[in-house]
């Protein structure tokens, strides 16, 4: 197979012009920057669920595990606890981690495991041809909701703050430089990093125009205040709102789950004598 550094010469099957190309480019940029900062390429692991986002594993020459629908975060947690030296990234979609696998997302944030979770949020189920998802606005017209969906979107950033994530950000797939910078910071953050990436879907929910008019970059200020973070996060509730802020909303330091669970681990070759010790106590 022909390949050079991060690229694989595989056929890309995203729709022409898909905003996922922007996310792919930002991830490549971020890994290259991090490589220059001394993180070996082999240390990166990317897990995905199922959906348009997941095709990314075929376009990146790094360790990947293309998992089941909704289980990208669960897979990643196992990888990270098993080997905390790895830099574990998750690419997941709104359908994948806000619908099917939301329990894992919430609990991973709660335990502050050192992962970088990137949600390709196109606000619909695209690969299954355009049904409403957890972040589709109320009234979303899709093939399963021809008269408009009856559910309102929830705000994933608000949920992540409530769950205990220690790095909460929003990016925009069309702003690759800004997103690159966010991903670098998210990987460098020790703890659970979460980036909701606005990812317009040309075919089923084309939000390009809308986002281009409304998205603005946050100026970094006091990132340690949850109250201020929530205030900013509530500027847009994924249904209505005037402006859509992107950037980092919240950042905090907390012990990480992977580090805590690996504390005091010692490599033991064979347990024969310990087992016999236990057996001796049980007679």
């Amino acid at each position: 197979m022909e390949k050079n550094n991060l690229d694989l010469k595989t056929k890309n099957t995203w729709c022409p012009g898909c905003s996922n190309f922007g996310i792919l480019q930002a991830i490549k940029n971020a890994i290259s920057i991090l490589e220059k900062k001394g993180i070996e390429k082999e240390k990166f692991v990317l897990t995905t669920g199922i959906g348009c986002h997941a095709k990314i594993v075929d376009y990146l020459n790094i360790n990947t595990f293309y998992g089941l629908h909704g289980r990208a975060v669960a897979l990643a947690e196992g990888v990270k606890i098993a080997n905390p030296n790895l830099k574990v990234l998750v690419c997941s979609g709104d359908g994948d981690s806000y619908n099917e696998g939301i329990s894992h997302l919430i609990h991973a944030a709660k335990r502050n495991i050192d992962l970088t979770v990137l949600i390709h949020n196109n606000r619909n189920f695209a690969l299954t041809t355009g049904q409403f998802s957890a972040t589709s606005p109320r009234g979303f017209i899709g093939r399963s909701s021809p008269e408009g969906s009856l559910e309102s979107a929830f705000n994933p950033l608000e949920l992540m703050i409530a769950s205990g994530a220690t790095f909460v950000a929003r990016g925009y797939a069309a702003n690759v430089n800004h997103l690159t910078n966010l991903i670098v910071q998210a990987v460098e953050h020790k703890g659970f990093s979460f980036i909701d990436i606005l990812q317009p879907c040309l075919i089923w929910f084309n939000t390009f125009e809308n986002y281009n008019q409304r998205v603005y970059e946050l100026k970094e200020n006091n990132l340690s205040s949850k109250e201020k973070a929530i205030q900013k996060i509530l500027e847009w509730d994924y249904n209505d709102g005037e402006k859509i802020p992107i950037g980092i909303f919240y950042k905090a330091e907390k012990p990480t789950f992977d580090e805590e669970t690996n504390k005091g681990l010692v490599n033991v070759e064979d347990f024969g004598s310990q087992i016999k010790e236990i057996l001796a106590k049980k007679s």
């Binding site: 197979m1 289980r71 606890i81 057996l279 049980k282």
Partner: protein, 552 residues
Amino acid sequence: MQKEFSILVGGAAGEGTRMTGQLIGKLLNQYGWRIFIYEDYQSLITGGHNFSVIRVSKEIILTPKKEIDYLIALNQETIEKHKNNLKKDGLIIYNSDQIKGEKGIGIPALSITNQFSGKPIMKNSALFGALAKVLGVEWEILENLLKKEFGEKAEVNLKIARAGYEQSKTSQKIEKLNQKPLSLLNGNEAVALGALKAGLDFYISYPMTPATPILHFLAQIRKNFKNVIVFQPENEIEVINAALGSAFAGKRTMVGTSGGGFALMVEALSLAAQSETPIVIVESQRPAPATGIPTYTAQSDLLFVLSAGHGDFQRFVVAPGDAEEAFYLTGLAMNITWKYQIPAIVLIDKEISEDTFNFDESIVEKIKIEEPILWDKKGEYKRYLDTKEGISPLAFPGEKGVAVKSTSYEHDEFGITTEEEENIKEMQEKRLRNYENLNNEIKNLEGVKVYGNKNSDKAIIVFGSNKGVGIEIGKKLNLKVIQVLVFQPFPEEQIKKAVSGVKKLISVETNASAQLAQVLRAHDIKVNDSILKYTGRPFFVEELKEKLINKI
């Protein structure tokens, strides 16, 4: 003294009957007697009725009997529920603070406990002391045991036990047998130790009876096993997916659950097959459908584990019948899953999980860590290299010059997604060749064991927790007894050999649809009849004997 006897200790949940049962077992173990303890408890935390039956014998026994020689009652309900099973010359030792007007030995257990300012649960020690005296146990042996078990807390317990001991009298002094005491282990502990011996790095589990104690045991013994991580996540779906992530990162990983939890894991079982990721799944059965009866037993998930998962794939399935087999087969499952990168399931049930068995430590040396086939670091790494044997060498993330690409999607040799017919066929056939390896492996394994009268033309066939009762009845009724230990790959030749010459074959199963017989028939093995029990309780020796006599 008789060749064997049984002691039942009963009371409400939270009264400590299980602990007392364990202490009685350990006490008589010191005299070289063989011990088996049956646990019967309900899904509640306080109240209700719990009991343990400690069967004590000169020879190894693996199953409970109905008939009781000594009934130790913490409350009135215990007497009412079990008096009918007490032998004519049996003896009741009871808490006379709560039970009045009973024959036998009444011990004011609560008054004694209060006298020494003990906690209410310590009243067990008074009855324990009384039983020890009845059996003529020397005080020093009891004293040493309580010191070993309770450490610094032994002092008050010893005073209470001593008072019970002194208020009781010896009826039949226990003989000291000339055989070495063996360890006492339940199947859950044996599963955990077997996995550890085979190099367990990571145990992940969500609580579900009767597999939960594996999680407790491993969390507690981590002090001694410093390289093992124990993780209790939010649900079984996280359990199995995180476990596959861990194995992908190179760690020997096991998960444990019961039928309902396994049902939630099934999609990822199929992922293990497609991505060729090693995993050991312990499935401890309880009665189902659905919630069923959480703290009781069944063998009704056999067909489920054999066929669970979407798609064409194989798994390695073993069904141990006691603690030693639980140790050995779990260790074997760990080695096999890493050797072939095919998922392995250890199928047990509540009786294997929670009953206590004698455990001969000589089995420990039979399990050693066997290394998987690793990448030779030559050329470019391909996760799904299409080898002659169908096994693709493993490399793990972090290794220099390697991109490990595991996937749930059909893929090419690198792990890149494919929808091309040629690739699909190639990979399916690679996996099929690997399944052939597994099928051949059965020739090296003891998939079947035969006991009893090997020349008899009448045989019973069992698996899992019916091993013990099967062997015991086989001996009594002069039958051949066949135990199936491996279900996938199916040891067809071994079973056909075992049943050759048998004119009447009866399966004995703790389920309602004769699932073992169904499996055997699917392999053209004639089963004439089945004896089934589906009340959540195991077969008691007397009960199976009666049912079998009517059938043969």
